[in-house]
């Protein structure tokens, strides 16, 4: 098992290395850090701009291969992912923003899984009942609402609530308010800021779990072994709970394991709408600010977490499903 994981991880590592380097070239090709300076007043000459970029290995006069080599050596030897065109350390940004994202997404992931799976199980056992039809309709609707629309709707409702309740307890922007001091007030403030984005993310996240869990369980309900279990004297509900559900939860567990590392990569749209400075927003900002190093580091970070997720999902499957266990 351990050997297998190591071999798998090596394969993933190779892919991440290739993907990251490919992104480096793509980003260098498509992003032009110089354009950041062009709108500045007083107007800088091209030469001045290039010189300003040189310390960060972004100087376009330097051949791309040289820049790449500098970047690669600094990553492999010092694990330094470079600096933005304005000189901000990418390592520092990612370290901070990943935690902000995790703060935002972890709770939403937990809620999505719990609500989605519970709803999936509840409705599958009552297929075609009114609860099933209703929640199915809602989920299909939600599934088809673009994330931006959903997030904005949440904002809209929150503003309306704030106006009508006459107090400002639903924060529609930022991860904290400036000027809050003391441990408890800080925690309370942060939690209040979490409410809306979490609601929005959960709304978008639970749907997938609901629909997949429902269909997984429905597939299993017709299985012969559920009938066998009923023949031994279990009621339908008991047979579903003890036999069908346990089996149908295995793929869900794998997909939860897969999505756990993804909490650090954040949520692009939600973070943008709610102005959270997490990884998702960083991703948008690095591209729009022509930050080659930031973009590449984001790509590498996301690819790594995908790989970690895939390995975790494998481990979860092997752990839960005796059929794929290697003895």
């Amino acid at each position: 098992m351990v050997r297998h994981v190591i071999r798998k991880a090596a394969g993933w590592l190779l892919m991440i290395v290739v993907a990251t380097n490919a992104t480096y070239f793509l980003a260098s090709w498509f992003l032009d850090p110089r354009s950041n300076y062009r709108d500045l007043r007083p107007v800088r000459s091209e030469d001045q701009i290039d010189r300003a970029l040189a310390p960060y290995h972004l100087d376009p006069r330097e051949p791309l291969v040289h820049r790449w080599w500098d970047w690669l050596t600094s990553v492999t030897l010092h694990f330094d992912w470079g600096r933005s065109p304005t000189g901000v350390s990418v390592n520092g940004e990612i370290g901070y923003r990943a935690l902000v994202s995790a703060e935002l997404v972890t709770l939403a992931t937990v809620l999505s899984v719990v609500i989605g799976v519970a709803l999936g199980v509840y409705t599958a056992a009552r297929q075609y009942g009114w609860a099933d039809r209703f929640s199915q309709a809602v989920s299909i609707l939600v599934f088809n609402v673009p994330a931006s629309v959903a997030a904005l709707l949440v904002v809209f409702v929150a503003i309306w609530l704030n106006q009508h309740a006459g107090l400002r307890f639903l924060y529609v922007a930022g991860e904290n308010s400036p000027g809050v001091e003391g441990l408890l007030p800080t925690i309370a403030d942060r939690l209040l800021h979490l409410i809306l984005p979490t609601a929005s993310l959960t709304l978008m996240g639970y749907v997938g779990y609901h629909l997949t869990q429902r269909s997984l369980l429905l597939d299993t309900l017709g299985a012969d072994f559920v009938r066998t279990a009923r023949a031994t004297g279990l009621t339908r509900a008991q047979a579903i709970r003890r036999h069908a559900l346990r089996t149908a939860l295995i793929p869900t567990a794998a997909s939860v394991a897969f999505s756990v590392p993804a909490v650090f990569t954040g949520a692009v749209i939600t973070e943008s709408v709610f102005a959270w400075n997490g990884m998702g927003r960083y991703f948008v900002q690095t591209i729009s600010k022509n930050d080659v190093h930031g973009t590449v580091a984001t790509a590498a970070f996301a690819a790594t977490l995908t790989a970690v997720g895939a390995i975790l999902a494998d481990i979860a499957t092997v752990f839960l499903d005796p059929r794929v266990r290697v003895s």
């Binding site: 023949a231 509900a237 003890r242 494998d314 059929r323």
Partner: protein
Amino acid sequence: MTLATPLLDPAPGKDGRPVLSVRDLHITFPSEAGPVQAVRGVGFDLLPGRTLCVVGESGSGKSATALGVMGLLPPSAEVRGQVLLDGQDLVGLDDRALSKIRGKSIGMVFQDPLSALTPIYSVGRLLADALRVHQDLTRRAAWEQAVQLLDLVGIPDPRGRATAFPHEFSGGMRQRVVIALAIANRPAVLVADEPTTALDVTVQAQILDVLRLAQQETGAGLVLITHDLGVVAGHADDVAVMYAGRFVEHAGVTELFRRPTMPYTARLLAAVPTVDGGVRRPLVPIGGEPPALVDLPAGCPFAPRCAVALDACRTAEPESHEVTGHGHVACLRAAEIADGSLDPKGDTPPAGPPAPADRTATATATGEVVLRVEDLVKTFPVTKGAVLKRRIGTLRAVGGVGFALRAGETLALVGESGSGKTTTLMEILRLARPEGGRVEICGTDVAALDSPAAVRRLRRDVQIVMQDPLGALDPRMPVSHSLAEPLRAIGRDRASIRARVRELLALVGLDDTIGDRFPAALSGGQRQRVGIARALATEPRLLALDEPLSALDVSVQAGVINLLTRLKRELGLAYLVVAHDLAVVRYVSDRIAVMYLGHIVETGDTEAIFADPRHPYTRALLSAIPIPDPGRERTRERVVLTGEPPNAARPPRGCVFVDRCPLYREAGEELRRRCRTEPPAQTPVAGDSGHRYACHGV
């Protein structure tokens, strides 16, 4: 619609009171075309310790009856009538009330053991859970009982195996576990729905023995549902023959087989191929198809297929009534049939000429050799785990097989699953250099085919008929397109293709209009005829038939056998048949090669193999096939094999059969050593050079 079926009171058993009484059971499923009346007024009494066999073809409603008794039908099914268990009517009870009865008073054994066990629990856990549903046991005590149950159903090393998961067991072993589950709480009634259909014939014999043991152990009454009349002959006390949702004949086993009184029963028995007896009697197919169970027309549902039907048979469905000295029969002419004044089969001669005469003609004929196989070898890599694949060895699926086949001759490769027979067939059909050995078709060594064009030319001479006629036809193509495909592949023009398609349909006895239909709209027999027609399209000389009959019902099977015999004679074809069922093989083949674990262990003329089997495996195989005759089935001496075919990834070094060989167990030290270390050579039987076997001990 008939009135309530009269109560059946079978000969009172030893202890009198029935454990299970079913009265006028009706089961209806909704469907798009209207309600499907799957069961229409079934009634019977089951006495403790007795076995009632319900026999019928697919779609006759026998499985629905079983599920109806268990209360395991889908909620959409409508159930009427009574299922009286110990005086309590189960029909209409809610799930909670039924769950107190299921597993405790009635146990059920299902058809497919591979999917009947929850994959994520160990078998010990499954059994312990089943015990604890109805009994107040500690975990430890339940586990102990589970181990005892595994021991009872014949699982070796029960304590060790209890912690194993279902997928770690073979099919036969899983079915033993399912039986253990069914008898865990010592139910008074056992219902077994085709418990051996998915299993090999040698394993079937073991499972039926386990079932009988389980029945003795618990004293339960057994409802055994099967399509196999041989199993009925060996195990039933009473037999109910089901047709179109009703019991059309219900009698004691000896009476039923001595004088089948419903024409359907009689025709069914005449259509079953058997392995016993010196003479091979011709098979008489039942024409037509079983009726669809929606909007049944008035009259006896069997009347359209019946040779002795009267006009009255077509106007009203006959009631089931008692025939003195026999049982209950739903036929207007039962009395005439019972007293012997009417032959229920009618005087229809068997379709096609009597087979034996035909065969003696071909057996002596020496046509040119169309297929020669020498020392054929095929291996597969063995991997383990579904997600975490890794190679753990090499499976030697075919280990040096050789035979020759002449025009006008049929050779059957016979063996259980994993014997390598289908692999052999596929290797021949691949028309590419084999991994080892030589394949020569119509004088051409396939290894010498150097261009795709040469391969395509040879393809015309070799065609295949596949096992599952539905799977072998593209569901999205009408029949005529499927038939045209091989012709198009060899570049025939449109007009000649159209003419040939019509010709082919006529050749296999199908109507022209069939050409416009999609495979889903055909019956099983029609589909297989289309499959045969397609294989004949390019006028091949060699036809490979992969289990051509195993997916067909008995009443249809005989017709296809006769068709194959006729085509071979008319077109001078050579058949290479792969089959697991020796009884069927007897009717289609001139020579037989018995395969075990990738090797031919015995080969010879069909009748020589049946009359004088030499290899212990051939003998065991022959004796494992149940004979549809209660007298002989119950008295004959049987060689029951223990265990199951070993893993072909680690075959024994000497004789491949050594692990299960009954001779080996009784052999002396010297012989045992040879069996273990030295692969036996093919030895000819004195006086019959074509009959050879590979055994040290005979």
